[in-house]
């Protein structure tokens, strides 16, 4: 079981020196630092815990001298080492041959360290792993038979800020550290990519956005809504129009994305998916004949709310970590925005250049909107009635 706790910084020695040691349940502290194919291990075990198992206090005077400990270091190692197995890629890592400060039969360097409840044997050694260390498995069994409340507090130090920790004991002796996803930056990058991928391959979102943007480079030729258009007089007005639509869409789907991911609002996916198809139909038909009231940015906002639920379903499929919820939500949304901007960047210059042409108004706006509406119509039927009409990824 992982408790996500972070090992806090060492306390001032003064505290430990003046105040007597604490009574506390038994813990051991393990730090694992993987570098290349090697793992440097530091393992601190209380002398108080080793004594009953190994009989360190030979003269039974209730105190341990350094001599009593030093003369038994080989036995301490022989006792401890089999109690923790570290493996990479399914193969156990073995102590590197050069170790043990040169002493025969030993693999570790032993010093002493003070913790709040007394003196610990601080053992350091290097393990060599046969396979590359992508995933590190720790299996910890120390004192399981003599003290089931003993815990091994294991910290992975993967360099930089990347630390993770786990509390291991008899009920939960194993922990897998995945070094590939240990950094927050890595998590963020992963979710940004997911977000871009989702809009890039989510044809329904692209078509919806394009349907809304097609008229951005045009202005109504009349004010009655008969569907007659003319090219926009300048880039500024057209760009402001695009910006309004995109911003409204982003704002809306961000809201419902968050609400759905946090389980504040949940809708059945069939409703969401067919709703999204419906928004595409309405947005494209609206380009031919005005069927939607209000300005297009308002339409983008209202329909964007529905698309947000679709993004949330995709994000939940990817799998969210509870610890990195905010981070993954942010990353995913950022990815969606990046994808959206890329579409706008590709669309706008071409559309703006063609805005005065008859081609744009006669061929692109009408027939393209029509085709989009047709495709979306098929999606709607498929999604609403759970049918499979065409092999189109949507």
């Amino acid at each position: 079981m992982s408790r996500g706790a972070r090992i806090t910084a060492a306390l001032a020695l003064a505290g430990a020196a003046v105040v007597a040691s604490a009574h506390k349940p038994s813990d051991a502290y393990v730090t694992l630092a993987p570098r290349g194919d090697d793992v440097t291990v530091r393992w601190d075990v209380a002398l108080r815990d080793l004594d009953p198992e190994l009989g360190l206090d030979v003269d039974d005077d209730g105190t341990l001298s350094w001599g009593e400990v030093r003369s038994r270091l080989r036995d301490i190692e022989a006792y401890l080492l089999p109690q923790m197995t570290i493996s990479a890629g399914g193969a156990a890592c073995r102590p590197a041959p050069a170790g043990g400060d040169g002493a025969p039969g030993r693999v570790a360097r032993h010093r002493l360290d003070r913790h709040s409840d007394g003196t610990y044997d601080a053992m350091s050694f290097v393990l060599h792993c046969a396979k590359p260390i992508d995933v590190l498995d720790v299996d910890y069994r120390l004192f399981a038979a003599v003290d089931p409340t003993h815990r091994g507090i294991v910290r992975l130090d993967a360099g930089g800020d990347a630390t993770e920790s786990a509390v291991l004991g008899p009920d939960h002796p194993r922990r897998r550290f995945d070094l590939r996803r240990s950094s927050r930056l890595e998590t963020l990058r992963e979710f940004v990519v997911e977000g871009i991928g989702h809009i890039g391959f989510g044809f329904d979102h692209i078509l919806f956005l394009l349907s809304l943007l097609l008229p951005s480079v045009l202005v109504r030729a009349d004010r009655i809504g008969s569907g007659r258009w003319a090219g926009a007089p300048d880039a500024r007005g057209a760009l402001v129009d695009v910006l309004k639509v995109v911003t409204a869409f982003t704002l809306a789907h961000s809201i419902t994305l968050c609400l759905a991911v946090l389980d504040v609002v949940t809708l059945p996916s069939r409703l969401v998916e067919s709703g999204i198809a419906l928004t595409v139909i309405l947005a494209s038909v609206n380009n031919i004949r005005t069927v939607l009231p209000g300005r297009r940015w308002a339409v983008a906002f209202a329909f964007g709310l529905i698309h947000g639920f679709g993004f949330a379903a995709a994000l939940k499929d990817v799998g969210l970590s509870r610890q990195a919820l905010a981070l993954s939500l942010f990353g995913f949304n950022l990815g969606v925005e990046i994808g959206q901007l890329a579409i706008v960047a590709a669309f706008f210059p071409v559309a703006f250049a063609l805005r005065h042409s008859t081609l744009y108004r006669r061929v692109v706006l009408g027939p393209v909107s029509m085709s989009v509406a047709a495709i979306a119509g098929v999606w709607f039927v498929e999604r609403a009635f759970d049918l499979k009409l065409m092999g189109f990824p949507a």
């Binding site: 306390l11 604490a22 009574h23 601190d44 001599g67 030093r70 709040s116 003599v146 089931p148």
Partner: protein
């Protein structure tokens, strides 16, 4: 962390036999820390690097060694395992050392995860669980014991003790009445008297306890402690002090020392607290009181004590322990001066245990942090139980 005082039945009240007369609520005092500095290598073999015990081996320690050795040879001998567990729990209580609770659990390991372990193993398991504040799990075990053996006085008594700690006074009264009716008259009556007092019937409780004290001079240690706490809640300082002194003179454990230290701290008698607790720093509930006394008389040792306590709470959090929340709330409120943090801790603690000390820190922290919601919870408890305690502010009473 410092759990309720021990509640032990005299051997005659025990049904399974004299061997089982172990402690019930053990003063569990964990207090770890990562006060690691830099690793070092001692200069010479003669250098003393660790002190394993503060006192010479006592007969109980030697007996435990023999028993554990025997148990290693025959780990499935129930009577032996229960004897080892009892000894360990006794030492954990005497020294406030939770490692011994781990050893007790290890002794019971052949039965620990069984669906239907023998009654004796189950009772021991419940005791250990209670000691680490796993109250729900402990009650499950006790219910099972009582199902199988409805006349098990110790199980009724332990369950009453948990219910009392949780502030479930009517339930606790029912169970205490069973204890009395099943033949453990002194324990049942004292337990009922304490509950009457907690429910605001001090006069009645006072009379009952005085009677019990007269008739049972051999039980002076814990009867006086109950009576001292009652007098303190009533504001009868002189009587409370006499009774604390009588109790501590007869026997003392970490719980009794803690209660007495709190009494002294409330009266700004810091030097007495320091003299009492200077040798007790291993137990962090007592180190907390010592730090408060240092602070009260502006003693420079305060900072070291605070640093050590912080280290212990940090280490406890690392392993996921939450048994120290009452002490940690006091630490945050009075020593670190962080009322919001203290209120959060006091609130989480209140969800687990509801003794007068828990009520007091809940109110103090809530008031300092302006947490009206917590003040309301505390007031609701006061109204529901009728508890009367002069140490609570007038706003709460």
């Amino acid at each position: 962390m410092m759990a309720r005082r021990r509640r032990r039945l005299p051997e005659r009240a025990w049904r399974p036999g004299p061997g089982l007369a172990a402690a019930i609520a053990v003063a569990l005092l964990a207090a770890p820390a990562r006060a690691a500095a830099a690793p070092y290598t001692p200069a010479s073999d003669e250098e003393i690097v660790e002190r394993l015990r503060e006192r010479p081996l006592e007969p109980a320690d030697r007996e435990l060694r023999t028993l554990r050795q025997a148990l290693r040879a025959e780990p499935r001998r129930l009577a032996l395992a229960v004897a080892v567990a009892q000894h360990c729990i006794g030492i954990a209580r005497r020294d406030g050392d939770p490692r011994y609770l781990g050893y007790a659990q290890a002794a019971l390991s052949p039965w620990w995860s069984e669906a239907a372990p023998p009654v004796m193993a189950r009772l021991m398991k419940a005791t250990i669980l209670q000691s680490v504040h796993e109250f729900d799990a402990a009650v499950v075990e006790l219910d099972a014991v009582l199902q199988e053996d409805p006349a098990n006085v110790q199980a009724w008594f332990t369950r009453a003790s948990i219910e009392q700690v949780r502030g479930e006074y009517p339930k606790a009264e029912r169970d205490c009445a069973r204890v009395r009716d099943l033949g453990a008259r002194v324990h049942g009556s004292a337990c009922l008297a304490e509950l009457r007092s907690l429910s605001g019937h001090d006069q009645e409780a006072e009379q009952a306890l005085q009677g019990l004290l007269r008739e049972n001079p051999d039980q002076v240690a814990w009867l006086s402690l109950v009576a001292a706490e009652l007098a303190e809640r009533r504001g009868d300082v002189r009587t409370a002090e006499q009774r604390y002194r009588a109790s501590l003179a007869a026997a003392s454990d970490a719980y009794a020392k803690g209660a007495w230290a709190d009494f002294l701290l409330d009266r700004h008698r810091y030097d007495e607290v320091i003299a009492l607790l200077l040798p007790e720093q291993r137990v962090d509930a007592l180190l907390l009181r010592l730090a408060l006394a240092f602070q009260g008389r502006a003693d420079p040792r305060r900072d070291d004590a605070v640093a050590a306590l912080q280290g212990r709470f940090d280490a406890a959090r690392l392993r996921g322990d939450t048994v120290h929340q009452r002490e940690e709330a006091r630490f945050e409120l009075h020593l670190r001066h962080r009322p919001e943090v203290a209120a959060g801790l006091a609130q989480r603690n209140w969800a687990v245990q509801r003794e007068p000390a828990d009520l007091r820190i809940l109110l103090e922290a809530a008031r300092a942090a302006h947490r009206v919601d917590l003040m309301d919870s505390a007031r609701a408890f006061v109204v529901a139980t009728g508890i009367d305690d002069v140490r609570l502010s007038p706003t709460a009473r």
